[in-house]
Symmetry: C2
Subunit: 419 residues, 2 copies
């Protein structure tokens, strides 16, 4: 499927135009489109793997880290998994057309608030080609056109993925301009995307805290902020050792590279002598470096002295910060100061403390006695996840397909005028 539009703006306008028709597709047509995309990705495996090989060679030559190389790599099994993920999105309920509110005015006008697609969803992300397919599938399933801007290191791979997806749409009789990339326009293309207010309806950045900060700062298009997680676990005075240890270790170690993994543990002073030595040992046994304040250092061995930077760090690896606090108030104050408002959890047997924590912590997800790793669209039962919103407007916490829709009011009258 050849792309002929010659400027980023032209492509975005084509996406806007295509969105008018994609937004009116019925459930069955959208399901067929996604299944065709899944099949096309599998059929194009050879081309995709070849392009990915070229991207990987460039990445190796430019010294990209092994972890980033792994995120960039697509092989046949990963492409098959991507295609299956697209089929799973096809199986989700259509979020468009849901009736969100209904009322009838005294004069007889019938009001219906219905879920409608945004129109055009933009996404700016890093060199993870799976996001290209993931966002395109979620956007189309919710009736939106999509404009993609992935990391430069994945440019050749993304071009093949977009080519396969556009071809699948055309074969289904759907305007292929509903899927656009501005990758080949480099940074100026990304800037145009961020400034395309009136054409692009919402922008979802995915990636590092720095990428998200850039998008939030430079965009006039409304942004849904996702991701960054300086996530806290507070061990209250009443926290039982076994439960506290299991939750802290799981929250840090089960998958340390993701946003819902814990970065800081706060320990109530009354419980510190019991909890700190055992939990530091358990973390260290899993290879975690513990950055502690002086009290933690006095209670456990091999603790690295924490600095101010540690309280704000999103390690995303086998490191954790630990601090002893006076009480619940001090824990809440620390969280207010350093949290990114993603997820915080309290371990406690004190119901009053649990309820205060739930009420007063200002985060997308606030937990009692559970691992922070549960903040996840799949775990919440959404079937797919668009991202985890850390802002308060429109969506907060794990976002499913419904969060990729807006609404409009339909007002059906019979000649009413206002008096």
């Amino acid at each position: 499927m050849t792309i002929t539009a010659t400027t980023a703006r032209e492509r975005m306008l084509l996406a806007k135009d295509a969105s008018l028709r994609v937004g009116l597709l019925d459930d069955a047509a959208k399901q067929r489109a996604l299944r065709a995309i899944a099949d096309a990705l599998e059929s194009a495996t050879g081309d995709i793997v070849a392009a990915n090989g070229d991207d990987l060679s460039r990445a190796v030559a430019s010294g990209l880290s092994p972890a980033m190389q792994d995120r960039l790599r697509l092989d046949a099994p990963r492409i098959a998994a991507l295609a299956d993920a697209v089929r799973a999105v096809a199986d989700l309920p259509d979020p468009v057309g849901r009736v969100l509110d209904e009322r009838t005015m005294a004069n007889g006008i019938r009001l219906t608030k219905v879920a409608v697609p945004f129109g055009v969803v933009g996404s700016i992300y890093e060199a993870r080609p799976n996001v290209t397919v993931d966002i395109a599938a979620l956007a189309l399933r919710s009736g939106n056109a999509v404009v993609l801007r992935g990391g430069t290191a994945a440019e050749l791979t993304n071009a093949q993925l977009v080519r396969a997806m556009r071809g699948a749409l055309r074969a289904q009789g759907i305007d292929p301009e509903a899927i656009q990339t501005v990758d080949d326009f480099g940074r100026p293309g990304a800037r145009e995307l961020m400034q395309a207010r009136g054409i692009v309806d919402v922008l979802v950045p995915r990636g590092s805290a720095q990428l998200i900060e850039t998008v939030v700062t430079e965009s006039s298009v409304p942004v849904i902020e996702t991701g960054a997680g300086v996530v806290h676990v507070f061990l209250d005075a009443s926290a039982p050792l076994e439960r506290a240890r299991a939750i802290v270790v799981n929250a840090k170690v089960q998958r340390p590279s993701v946003c819902n993994s814990a970065e800081t543990v706060l320990v109530h002073r009354e419980a510190a002598a019991t909890l700190v030595p055992a939990i530091v040992s358990a973390l260290q046994a899993e290879g975690v470096v513990v950055h502690g304040d002086d009290e933690v250092g006095a209670l456990a061995s091999d603790v690295v002295s924490a600095t101010e930077a540690d309280w704000a760090a999103e390690y995303l690896g086998l490191e954790i910060a630990m601090r002893v606090v006076d009480d619940l108030d001090a824990a809440l104050a620390h969280i207010r100061e350093y949290s990114t408002h993603h997820t915080e959890s309290i371990v406690t047997d004190d119901d009053a403390a649990a309820e205060r924590f739930l009420a007063e912590v200002d985060s997308a997800v606030v937990m009692t006695n559970a691992s922070t790793r549960f903040t996840d669209g799949g775990e919440f039962g959404f079937g797919a996840e668009v991202g985890i919103s850390t802002q308060k407007l429109h969506a907060r916490g794990p976002m499913g397909l419904p969060e990729l829709t807006s609404s409009k009011w339909l007002a059906r009258g019979s000649g009413q005028v206002r008096t």
Copy 2:
């Protein structure tokens, strides 16, 4: 109630701090606070009217238009009406704490999505002192602190209103720092407000299209865009004359200065010979200047020749644009080109045309056979209106108190970890 904070940033930080406590107030405490504010405004009538007199003298001297002077004026009856409006907001249901979703994970973790206050709501608006009270009351009722920035011409009036409201909060034992103004810091204060991401949670501009455009462009704080309305009425081929005339005249004339009044009438060519002469006459009889295309000019007298600028004009007065179009498709294309996505209405007896119009027009409110003047929080039964959102994120159309809340997920576990 003296304001001691000496910088705009310091005041916003005080508002953020106060929001922690205001957000936890129960329904009864918020109702008491609003009733105390209403009483305090009435008690301060003398001071407010005196300050308003000074503002008005400056306004007259600087040549402010009589219409703007009228919007700026506060007298005892208007202050009483403002106080009553605050009491009406007190009577509305508390939007905080509503359960928006509930689910239980297979592992037993109970999830509850509850409505919570945003935290700090900012508002930038023009020289209409009633907005000062209106926004403060709506923000407090929904558990938010508020930072106000009104038009310079109303600065002395706004200072007295804020003083009275803060005094009422203090008398109720509520932190008066929950109500802040940055009026006295001029444009740099407004800029600081727009850039206060992380302190101010959402910004609601109210006023002219130009003011809203500035706020959207310059803010890093998430904005809810309100207001601008280039509103269309489409008279379909089957539109009966009496109904079409009543709706067009009402939509234009009943209150021409507001955003939901009609600015452009599109007429299906098949009905033009019948509808145009009668409707132009009816509009002219109400003092409306009609800007028409050549076909309209040929069918009716005293029509001013429309230019491209007329199709994009939000007259907000006794002027209207009128154009003959080929068919429904042409009407939809014109609306796509010029609408501000506020409200559009079709007058028709053709159900298929009505349903296509409802489905394909991308506006906050899409109507059949009704006056566009019904797009209004009061008419929709919301009891109060924060504004009319013309964006697609978070809120669309008339906004009530629930739109001044965000949500958070509470996850109650008993030691669950992820495997």
